[in-house]
C-alpha cells in the first residue's frame, strides 16, 4: 500500500440476517438464513451454483427483496431501506464499470451521488485510486484497461465513499489464477486496513479459505455450517461440507458407542472405527466417517487387513503433485485417496497393483451427518 492512512480506518458495520427467505413463486431459493458478520470481519458465502448465495448477497444489497426475515446493519433494520440509501460498496463478477466514464469519473460516482463537493470528490477519488495502485490511470476509459485493472477500479469505486459493508459477488472469477491470488491477498490486506466488514460470495473453496474469517457453507438455500475456515476444514458437520471443502474419503457407518470422548463406529462390512472428534450424533444413529487424504499414512503390508482405523487395498494409480504424492487404493469397490508428503515416501513408493494399508489416527477420524 503506497499510502495506507489515506482513507481513514472506519468502523465496519456488523451485518445480521434473521430468518431471511426468498422464493420465486413456488421455488424457494433461500430459506430461513440466520447469519452474522461481525464488524471488520470477512465472511464468505460458499456453495455450488444455485445454492442461493448470490441471492442472499443481493438481498443484503437491496437488489432483491426478501420474502421473509430481517436484515440489520449495526442493529438497525435496513430491510425496507432502498438500495441507494444503504451505504454499501459492491463488486460485481463482470466489474460493471460505467463504460462511458473515465476511471476517475467511475470512482468519483458514489461521492458525487452523495453531494460531496467537486474538489473534495476528485481528491478522495484519487486517493482511492492510489490505494488500489491505479495512480496515472485517471483519464483512461474502462475499455482500455485489463481485467485486473478494471477490477481495481471497481474496488476503488466501491470503497471511496467509506461504505459500512463491502459486498463481493464472485469478484475474481474472470481473472487468471496468478492475478486472482494476488488480488485476493491485496483485497484481504485492504479490507483489514480499512476495517471493512466484507461479505464475499464464491463457489471456490480455496478463495474462501484464503480470504474469509468466517465461512458459511450453503446448500439448497440453507446454511450447512458457518464457522472459521479452520473449523470448517477440521470439523465439518456434514457429508456435504466435508465433500465440498477439500477432499475426503467417506465410509458409511453406525455409531456403536460413546465413551470418554471416544466414539466407536462400525461400517456395513463390520469394520470398526474410533474417533476422538466430538459429534452430536447419538448411539445407533447412522453417520459417515470422513478421512482427509493428508491424514492417512500408508504402510506396505502385502496383504489385506481390516484393523481399527486401518484399511488396505490394491494401489490403482499414483500421481505426483509436487508437494505430495496422491495414491488411489481400491477398497471394497470404491476408491480411497491418500496424499503422502514427499518427504514421507521411502525408497520404495507405492506402485500400482501392490497391496498397501492405509491407517489414520482417532483424532483425524471425522464423523459427519449423512446428509
Amino acid at each position: 500500500m503506497s499510502n495506507p492512512a489515506s482513507i481513514s480506518k472506519t468502523e465496519g458495520g456488523s451485518v445480521t440476517l434473521r430468518g431471511i427467505s426468498r422464493s420465486y413463486g413456488a421455488n424457494q431459493v433461500v430459506s430461513d438464513i440466520n447469519l452474522e458478520a461481525r464488524s471488520g470481519e470477512i465472511l464468505a458465502l460458499l456453495g455450488p451454483s444455485g445454492c442461493g448465495k448470490t441471492t442472499t448477497l443481493r438481498m443484503i444489497a437491496g437488489l432483491v427483496q426478501p420474502t421473509a426475515g430481517d436484515i440489520a446493519i449495526d442493529g438497525r433494520p435496513i430491510t425496507d431501506l432502498p438500495v441507494h440509501r444503504r451505504n454499501l460498496g459492491m463488486l460485481f463478477q463482470n466489474y460493471a464499470l460505467f463504460p462511458h466514464m473515465t476511471v476517475l469519473e467511475n470512482v468519483a460516482f458514489g461521492l458525487s451521488m452523495r453531494g460531496v463537493e467537486k474538489a473534495e470528490t476528485a481528491e478522495r477519488a484519487k486517493r482511492a485510486l492510489a490505494l488500489t495502485h491505479l495512480t496515472g490511470f485517471e483519464d483512461r476509459m474502462p475499455s482500455a484497461l485489463s481485467g485486473g485493472q478494471q477490477q481495481r477500479v471497481a474496488l476503488a469505486r466501491a470503497i471511496v465513499y467509506r461504505p459500512k459493508v463491502l459486498l463481493l459477488d464472485e469478484p475474481f472469477g474472470a481473472l487468471d489464477k496468478k492475478l486472482r491470488e494476488a488480488m485476493q491477498i491485496e483485497l484481504r490486506q485492504l479490507c483489514n486496513e480499512l476495517g471493512l466488514t466484507t461479505i464475499l460470495v464464491t463457489h471456490d473453496q480455496e478463495e474462501a479459505l484464503v480470504l474469509a474469517d468466517q465461512i458459511a457453507v450453503m446448500r439448497g438455500g440453507r446454511i450447512e455450517q458457518a464457522a472459521s475456515a479452520r473449523e470448517i476444514y477440521e470439523r465439518p458437520s456434514s457429508h456435504f461440507v466435508a465433500d465440498f471443502i477439500g477432499t475426503s474419503n467417506f465410509i458409511s457407518a453406525t455409531i456403536l458407542g460413546k465413551h470418554d470422548g471416544k466414539t466407536t463406529l462400525k461400517s456395513a462390512s463390520g469394520q470398526l472405527f474410533e474417533s476422538l472428534v466430538a459429534t452430536e450424533l447419538g448411539i445407533g444413529e447412522k453417520a459417515v466417517v470422513a478421512i482427509r487424504p493428508e491424514s492417512v499414512r500408508l504402510s506396505a503390508t502385502g496383504e489385506a487387513t481390516e484393523a481399527i482405523n486401518a484399511r488396505s487395498g490394491r494401489v490403482l494409480r499414483t500421481v505426483f503433485k509436487g508437494q505430495t504424492l496422491s495414491v488411489w487404493l481400491e477398497m471394497a469397490g470404491s476408491e480411497f485417496v491418500c496424499a503422502l508428503p514427499i518427504e514421507a515416501i521411502g525408497a520404495s513408493p507405492p506402485q500400482p497393483g501392490q497391496i498397501w494399508t492405509a491407517n489414520w489416527s482417532a483424532e483425524r477420524t471425522l464423523i459427519v451427518r449423512e446428509q
Binding site: H84, R86, L88, L97, P99, G110, M141, S143, R157
Partner: protein, 326 residues
Amino acid sequence: MQSVNGTIPLDPLPNDGALSGARENNTKFSRLVEEAWSRFSSTRYTGFFLVLPALLFLGVWFIWPVVSMIASSLSAHVVDGVTVEGFTLENYTRLFSSDLYFRILARTVRVALLTSICAAVFAYPLAIAISRGGPSLARLVTITILAPLLVNVVVRSYGWQTILNKTGALAWALKQVGIPHPPALLYTEWAVLIACVHVYLPFMVMPLASAIARIDRSVEEAARVAGATRLRVFLKVILPLSLPGLAVGASLVFSLSSAAYVTPQVLGGNFSPLLGTLIEQQILTLNDWPFGAAISTLLIVMVLAVNLVFLKIVNRRFARWTEAAR
C-alpha cells in the same frame, strides 16, 4: 507406439515415391484453387460481391431516379405554365426568394424535430418497459406499439381527424370536464405533430429498446448501490449508454416525418402544409415538375445533412467509450 514406429521403414519405398508424386500434383492443383479462392474471398472482393445485388437494385431504382430528379430541377423551369428548357438555377432562386416556401421549410424542420423529441420522451418509458420489464409485460408493450403499423397510415390519419375535429372526441371530452371552447387543433401544426408522433413512435421505441437491452444490468445495479436514485441511474447511466439507439431512432423519425405526406395533408390541410404537400401541389396540381424536383432535392439534402451531423456527434461520443487499449 513402438511397434508403429518399427513398421514405417519396412514400407516399400518405390511405391511410396510414386504416390507422393501424384500427391504433389494434386496439392499443386488444390493450392491453385485455394489461391484463386482466397483472392476471390479476400476482404476487398468479398465486400464488393456481397454488396453488389443491393447496389444494382438501388442504382436502378434509387440513385438513377434521384440523379434524374436533380437533373430535371436544373434543366428546365416553368414560366406562366410554359416549360423553358435549358440549364437554369431559376427553380432554386425561386425557392429561396419566397417567404412562403421558407416558412414551409422551417415548419417541416420544426415539426420533424419536435416529433423526434416528443417521440423520444414517450419512447423511453416504453423502451425501458420492453427491455427491463418481465417477459409478459415486454410482449404486451411491444405488440401494443407495433399493432398500429398494421393499420394503413391514411386510415390512422382520418382517425385522428375525427378525434381532433371541432366536434370530435377530444372536444367532447374537454367539454365534459368544463372546457367549453377548446382551441381548435385540426388543421394546425399541433394536429400534424400529434399524429406524426403517434405514427412514428414505433421507429423510436424499437431501436431504443434494443439499445437499453444491451446495457449490462449490473452496471445499473452498481450505480444504485453506489448511491444513485432511480432517476439518477436513468440520467447518468441509461440515457448516455442508450444514445446510439436514440440516434438511430431520432434519425428514422426525423427523416420519416420530414418527408411525411399523408398525415400532414389530412390533418394540416392547406393551412399547415409541409414540404411533402408543397411538392404534391407543384407536380400534380400546377404541373411544374422542375420546381417540384427542386423542392424534393432540397428535402433530401436537408434530411441527409441533419442525419449526418447527428450521427457524427453521437459517433464521436460513442467511440470514446469503446476506445480500445492502445
